[in-house]
Each structure stands twice: as C-alpha cells, then as structure tokens.
C-alpha cells in the first residue's frame, strides 16, 4: 500500500466531514482513526474506491464518538439525520485546511504538528518520533492546537505567507525518526501549489526541490558534512533540479518576486554550475541584494558576505562581514573561512575552534572542529 497516496487523501476526507457539519477537532480525530484502520486493513483487503472508503469509515467513527459523548446533546440531534450531501470538496477546502493549521494564533511548533497530522495524515506517534518528544507530549500539543483554532471560521481566507513558513520549518527538520520530513514538506507544498496559484508557493516548492536534490551528496558515509564546493555533483538529482528550475522560471516570469523565489534562484545558480569554480558568484551576490531588500534578515546579510568573498575576494568578504553583528550564528565560522582564503591559517584555525564552540548542531560542530584540526596540523608543519 502506498502510504503517501493514502495520506494524500487526508485533506479532502477531512473537509468532507467538516462540510457535513462535524466540528474540526472531532472530524480530525475521526479521520485519524480511519487512517489507522486503513493502514491495518488495506494491505489484505484494498477497497476499490479508497477515498469513498475513508469518508464512510471516518464519518462512522465521527458518529460513534459523538454518540459516546452524551454531554453534547446538540450533536446527538445532528447524528440522527442522514448526512447532508454538501458541496463536493474543492481545492479551496484543502487551502482552508492549510490556513487553519498554520493559523497565526498558533505557536510555530503547534502549527507544524497540526499541519503534519490534519493535512499530512501522519499519526501522533510518527510526529512525536520525528521531533524526539514523548507521544503524550505531542498528543497534548496537537489537542491544544485544535482547541486554539476551534473558534476560527473555516471559510475565512488566511495568509499564504504563514503557511509557507510552517512548511519551510518542516522541510528544514530533515530526516528524523521513521518519517522523511523534507520529502513530506515537498509533498505538502506540491499539494498546496495545486490548490492555489501563487508565485511564492512555487518559489518555495522550487527551493525545496533544488535543495533536496543535493541531499545525497551533502553527507559523507560517516555522517559528516560535505561542503558545497566539495560535493560530488554527479550525485545531485538532475530530475529534481530540472523540475525545480522549471517551476522557478515560471514563477519569476510573473514578476512578483518574493523571498522564496529569490532563495530558489540562488539554489538554482549553485545547481547550474558544473563545478564549484564555475559558480556564478556575481549573480548570486545580486540575488542576495534582492533578498536583503525583501527580508532585511541578518542571516541573509551574513550569507551575502560569504558570497561577496567568493565574487570579489576574501578581503571584500571580510569587509562585508565586519559590518555585521559578530554574535550572529555562524559569523565566526564565516570569518574563519574567509581568513583562510585570505592566506591567514593561524587566525582561521583560532576562529574555527571558536566557531565550533558556538555551533548549534553536532554535524556543524564536528565539521568546524575538523577544519581547525586540519589547519593546526598544517601550522605545525
């Protein structure tokens, strides 16, 4: 059974229940129960109409749960009636579901968890494992999130930007537990792109595809980081790159630039270079200028300084870096890199050690420590 296919049906099944009058929280529980039953039963006895099956079973679960809940008489009345046929769920319904799960009243971690469950069809256990927290904690996080959005009207248009931020957070989580969150984020962004015509949705999808295409080459067999310049470009996924570039070009042609399109353009320039030496750093700096204009984020300015170091030489890069707050994450690592390129291994080694102490993740810390060790060995002669 194709689990992704099954989970792809989640949003439309859920919106059918909501359209029939179920409240969002109860409907979401019912769909989750139906998915669990499908995973158990379908391998032996696959239904002819998977979506119809899920709707029937989820609706029955909803009715069962509502009947059991005797305190809520009003819903009792509802369940005695035949389900109204309701309008067929459309792309708009799927879109509403994304808006609801990324509602601005939710914290980022709640929005991520709710999106993965209600839109992505993942189980609470899978989400808990992916984020390395106990299942009980994740269950509480999700039910709180559902309570928070329970008064939000389902037909109110939401903000695409908040949805994109949530999907980007999921993408950046990578691979953890038994769920490939990057692949899941791509699937959900693709589904969103089918529901709404928006250049930034395309921009994010292109960015994800281009970044994901390099995943196999990004880590060595021992798990250590391989920097872009040293990656084996033959291992890049050319199909994913071609798709990403195609989507990006169509988005850029519409002349409504946004930060995800600009980031995707930078990723595309990297993907386009046959070797690291042939990278078009001048154009990359121009895109960083656009990004600075769009977001004015210090992280973007830092990356821009590194790109300037490639385009105009390490001195220019160091000058750009000097204008930035040196407590920024990776500021010291960038300085170390540029000092080495500038022919100052002693300063570079010291800064690499310092940067390793400030790294926020193990892979990067180990990478930076190795750089320091390499230079120190060189200096000892």
């Amino acid at each position: 059974m194709d689990e992704a296919l099954l989970r792809g049906l989640t949003p439309s099944v859920l919106t059918v229940l909501v359209r029939r009058g179920a409240d969002f929280a109860a409907a979401e529980d019912a769909v989750q129960d139906a998915l669990v039953e499908a995973v158990r039963g379908w391998p032996d006895d696959p239904p002819r109409d998977p979506k119809g099956w899920l709707i029937t079973v989820a609706w029955r679960k909803f009715l069962d749960a509502t009947r059991a809940d005797t305190a809520r008489r009003r819903r009792e009345d509802l369940v005695e009636e035949e389900p109204p046929p309701g309008p067929a769920p459309s792309a708009d319904d799927t879109l509403q579901l994304y808006f609801l799960c990324a509602h601005p009243s939710l914290t980022p971690s709640s929005a991520v968890a709710l999106t993965l469950r209600a839109v992505g069809g993942l189980t609470t256990r899978q989400i808990a494992r992916a984020y390395l927290v106990p299942e009980a904690t994740m269950a509480q996080r999700i039910s709180r999130a559902k309570r928070t959005v329970s008064t939000v009207r389902f037909d109110r248009p939401g903000d695409v930007a908040t949805v994109l931020r949530v999907l980007y957070l999921v993408f950046n989580e990578g691979y953890s537990g038994d769920v490939d969150l990057s692949a899941e984020a791509i699937r959900l962004t693709r589904q969103l792109a089918a529901a709404i015509d928006h250049p930034e949705v395309s921009g994010l999808l292109a960015l994800m595809l281009l970044h994901h295409a390099r995943r196999a080459s990004r880590t060595a067999p021992d798990g250590s980081l391989v920097p872009l310049a040293e990656q084996d470009r033959r291992r890049w996924d050319t199909k994913s790159i071609a798709e990403g570039i195609g989507i990006l070009q169509a988005a850029l042609a519409r002349d409504r630039l946004g930060e995800f399109q600009a980031q995707a353009a930078i990723a595309a320039l990297h993907a386009d270079a046959p070797t690291a030496e042939e990278t078009d750093w001048v154009q990359i700096v121009e895109w960083y200028d656009e990004l600075t204009r769009l977001t004015d984020s210090p992280v973007v300015r830092l990356n821009r300084a590194v790109a300037v170091g490639e385009a105009d030489g390490p001195r220019a890069g160091l000058a750009a870096l000097a204008e930035l707050d040196d407590t920024l994450p990776r500021h010291t690592a960038a300085a170390a890199y540029l000092h080495e390129r500038d022919g100052d291994p002693k300063t570079a080694a010291r800064l690499y050690t310092e940067a390793a102490g400030r790294a926020s993740n193990l892979a990067e810390r180990d990478y930076l420590t190795r750089q320091a060790a390499r230079l120190n060995a060189l200096l000892r002669g």
Partner: protein, 140 residues
C-alpha cells in the same frame, strides 16, 4: 522548537536566596516541594513542552577503561568534586525566552518556610544532530 536541559545541582551552583538544606525543612515543606515539581511537570506535559525529567542519587563512582582484557577501573566517590548534578528536566519549547520563563518557574519551587527557594538552575541548549537546511558557508 528547541530542546533545553534544566539542570539542578546539589553542589556547584551559586547560592540560592532561600538557602536552607532540605533536611532542615518540615515534612510538610518537603511534601509541598515535591508536589510543586510534579505539578510543574504535569503542566508542561499538557502544554506539549515536556520531554523528560530525572533525579540522580548524590553519590556515584568514577569509571574508566584500563586496557585490553582488564576490568574497568573504578574510583570515588570524591567528596571534593565541586559540581554535583541532582537532576534534570528536558523541555521542548518555541523560544529561548520561553525556556528562561519555565526555568524561572521551576526555581520558584517552595522550600523552607514555604517560600520560593530562588535556586539557580543551569539552562543548556541541546545541540541538534544536523544543521537546519539554510544555505551556509557553502555547507549546503
């Protein structure tokens, strides 16, 4: 979405404001303290921020490898060890500010006289396994 360790020390932390050792408290004060800690953990579970909590015995031993075919060497406990961990709680929160807020609440656990201990807790961020996907320094 970042994990933090709240570390409680038997020894090695700066002095608390209400710095009366636990064996000088009344039994009721001890019960109130334990209740506060349990309630705190239960509340964090409800907010979806609890990962785990553990307490450690004050005394342990030191162990090290002693070469091929030889049993490990053990030593201690050393009474003079400056830093002694009493226990920890791991939380998963949306921001550093939230982690500080929660550590502050935990530090307010009641001690002698039923008053907050104002104990110093050490707050340490976890290193994640991998960088988040940002392009950086050509790492990406």
């Amino acid at each position: 979405m970042a994990k933090y360790l709240l570390l409680k020390h038997y020894r090695g932390a700066p002095s608390a404001v209400n710095d009366v050792p636990m064996d000088q408290w009344t039994p009721e004060e001890i019960s109130a303290h334990v209740q506060y800690m349990n309630d705190f953990a239960a509340r964090l579970e409800k907010t979806g921020e609890f990962v785990e909590g553990q307490a450690l015995a004050p005394e342990g031993s030191w162990v090290r490898y002693d070469g091929e075919g030889r049993p490990p060497v053990t030593d201690g406990p050393f009474a003079e060890t400056k830093d002694l961990i009493a226990g920890w709680m791991v939380i998963d929160v949306d921001s550093h500010e939230r982690a500080v807020e929660l550590a502050g609440e935990l530090s307010a656990a009641p001690g002698a006289g039923g008053k907050p201990i104002h104990e110093w807790l050490e707050l340490r961020p976890f290193l994640t396994a991998h960088p988040s996907g940002e392009e950086c320094l050509g790492h990406g």
